[in-house]
């Protein structure tokens, strides 16, 4: 965690009061719009209603977990993240390694791979619908290759369509992070390994992966967070009420916003926050164990 906070030793604290004046506008806004209401919803999550204020401990959480729509949303969100995140990490690493090798037009390729980032999802969902329609281009391609066409959006394959959209959108960002990290590996180390007869694969597992581990952690966290944002793409593709496989936690929450069920909203947000903190802490601990020997 210390690395994340950056260098502390650059400047010493001098004028405390003046320092807080600089921070005040931002801290005030963050407190009012995020932190204070978050504490209040934590309170809401353990009472029966804001009017009565009876302490009910975990009842709201239990009724949330008992709710079948929530369970469906949680299951879908989990299964989507489990598919999308590893692919987003591995594929972007492979692309970064590919662009590290000596091939022509490298900087053009980088631009191409990064370009989906700038394209608003809303702008390409039309094409996505054309590609993955039952009579669409992807199925035509499958049939040319001798496979049967698939009703993409209305079958259990609909998550795959969204995984592809997710990868299309996010690989470029991850690739840049890996490229930067790869270029920081000491050249001498790789050259020594080469002299001693190490092949590309050995070099990767013996040297590169260790230097990459902080970046791997970061890319994993960013991809995970982005995978929770997939609602955006799904909403643009299918609207408010998607097919079962694409009903995510954000859909569930939008529905309770409509009913203004504060207890349930609060419980969902708090539960999600706890899960996020656990996941992120686990990743940090894993990285700390694994990458210890290369961090200065």
């Amino acid at each position: 965690m210390k690395e994340l906070l950056g260098r502390f030793d650059n400047y010493r604290s001098r004028d405390r009061l003046s320092g807080y004046i600089w921070l005040a506008p931002s801290l005030l806004g963050v407190s009012v719009f995020y932190v204070i209401p978050f504490f209040i919803i934590t309170y809401y999550s353990v009472i029966d209603s804001p009017l009565h204020g009876n302490f009910v401990f975990l009842d709201n959480f239990i009724s949330l977990i008992d709710n079948s729509a929530f369970r469906l949303a949680a299951r879908n969100t989990f299964s989507f993240s489990m598919r999308a995140v590893p692919l987003a990490v591995i594929l972007s690493l492979l692309i970064a390694l590919m662009l590290e090798s000596r091939i022509p037009l490298k900087s053009q390729f980088r631009t191409f791979f990064l370009s989906p980032m700038l394209v608003p999802v809303a702008s390409i969902v039309l094409i996505w619908q054309v590609l993955f329609h039952p009579n669409g281009a992807v199925n035509e391609l499958l049939m040319i290759l001798g496979w049967a066409g698939i009703d993409w959006m209305q079958s259990e394959h609909n998550q795959l369509v969204v995984v592809i959209l997710f990868l299309w959108k996010n690989l470029g960002f991850n690739m840049i992070l890996f490229m930067a990290s790869l270029s920081n590996i000491p050249r001498e180390l790789l050259e020594t390994a080469e002299v001693e007869g190490a092949g590309a694969i050995q070099k990767f597992f013996a040297i590169k992966i260790r230097y990459l581990s902080p970046t791997l952690l970061f890319v994993t966290i960013f991809s995970l967070i982005n995978s929770f944002r997939i609602f955006r793409e799904v909403y643009l593709l299918t609207g408010d009420y998607p097919y079962d496989g694409l009903y995510f936690i954000q859909h569930f929450m939008n529905n309770i916003f409509r009913r203004l069920d504060y207890q349930r909203l609060a419980a969902a947000a708090v539960l999600m926050a706890i899960v996020m903190v656990i996941i992120i802490a686990t990743l940090f601990i894993a990285e700390h164990r694994f990458g210890k020997d290369v961090e200065g």
């Binding site: 400047y11 719009f33 702008s123 990290s181 952690l217 960013f222 996020m276």
Partner: protein, 293 residues
């Protein structure tokens, strides 16, 4: 030697293949926007019908993906830009939300980052840590607090309900602090020796040093909010006030041709930013992920 050459050729072909996949959706959107309305109906009419049953009119039951239009027309663009004010007003909805968010988020972040860089203390570090945790929280968590505050302040349903949480989202603060901490302390010491006060150090040393950082952060924030869906659909009631992405998702068969043209117009601002600031953008991404200092 030969094997290495072969390997490089394979990689190059692979890279070409990937490029086609990465570019195709964008290129198709652009080329399709120059199709005539009737050609779009003939090719894709059915999709819009199936998506929102009963809304569109039945057109055709085959879907043909076309790279090159049979007849090129700019008619759709003329409709969007001149004939029908509705579409431009949707784009304006996006602008009026995104521009204040980007400028104010980066602006407040500059002050906060300066504070985190120049005046460090145990408490400040704890606050900075809180910003990081907050930055890592998905919308599902933060939207509930955003909603409650908007309700209390009586701004729920108005643009302010979207703008305020956007302005105070902690991403810019995090990234800019990381950039500012790279400014050599000698530079600041020198300014101090010359008799500069804090404001002068901030405006004459810190900000000029961070110019490319500010630019790249602004681009990243812009890309994110230009795409926003989650906040507006919960926090704005008025369908007329929704930003363009939300509106585009409700478009039906009758407007299919126009949808492509709007999609392309909507791509232009981020495209220009990207072409102009690709290097800054790459630098920004690099720093957002570099775990050390």
């Amino acid at each position: 030697m030969r094997r290495r050459y072969f390997g490089r050729t394979t990689l190059f072909v692979l890279a070409l293949l990937f490029s086609v996949i990465f570019l195709l959706p964008t290129v198709l959107t652009i080329t399709n926007s120059f199709m005539t309305q009737s050609e779009i109906f003939a090719n894709y009419g059915m999709i819009f019908d199936a998506l929102r049953p009963g809304v569109g009119t039945y057109v055709s039951d085959s879907v043909t993906l076309k790279l090159i239009p049979d007849r090129v027309t700019i008619d759709q663009y003329l409709t969007v830009l001149f004939r029908s004010p509705l579409y431009l007003s949707m784009i304006w909805n996006s602008i009026i939300l995104v521009v204040p968010i980007v400028t104010l988020q980066v602006g407040f972040a500059a002050f906060a980052a300066y504070s985190f860089t120049r005046f460090q203390s145990k408490f400040k570090n704890a606050v900075f840590f809180m910003y990081i945790v907050l930055m890592l929280m998905p919308h599902q968590v933060t939207i509930v607090p955003n909603f409650l505050v908007a309700d209390w302040l009586g701004i729920l349903g108005t643009r302010w309900a979207v703008i305020f949480p956007g302005v105070f989202a902690p991403f810019s603060v995090f990234l800019l602090t990381k950039f500012m901490r790279r400014i050599p302390s000698a530079l600041i010491e020198a300014a101090k020796v010359d008799g500069a006060n804090e404001w002068q150090i901030f405006t004459r040393v810190c900000l000029p040093q961070c110019r490319s950082a500010l630019y790249s952060i602004a681009i990243l924030v812009f890309f994110d909010y230009w795409n926003m869906v989650e906040l507006p659909i919960v926090l704005l009631d008025d369908p007329e006030a929704q930003p363009l992405p939300v509106f585009l998702s409700t478009i039906n068969a009758n407007e299919a041709g126009i949808a492509f043209a709007i999609a392309v117009i909507y791509m232009i601002p981020p495209l220009l930013l990207f072409l102009h600031g690709e290097e800054a953008l790459v630098e920004g991404i690099t720093h957002s992920g570099s775990v050390k200092g």
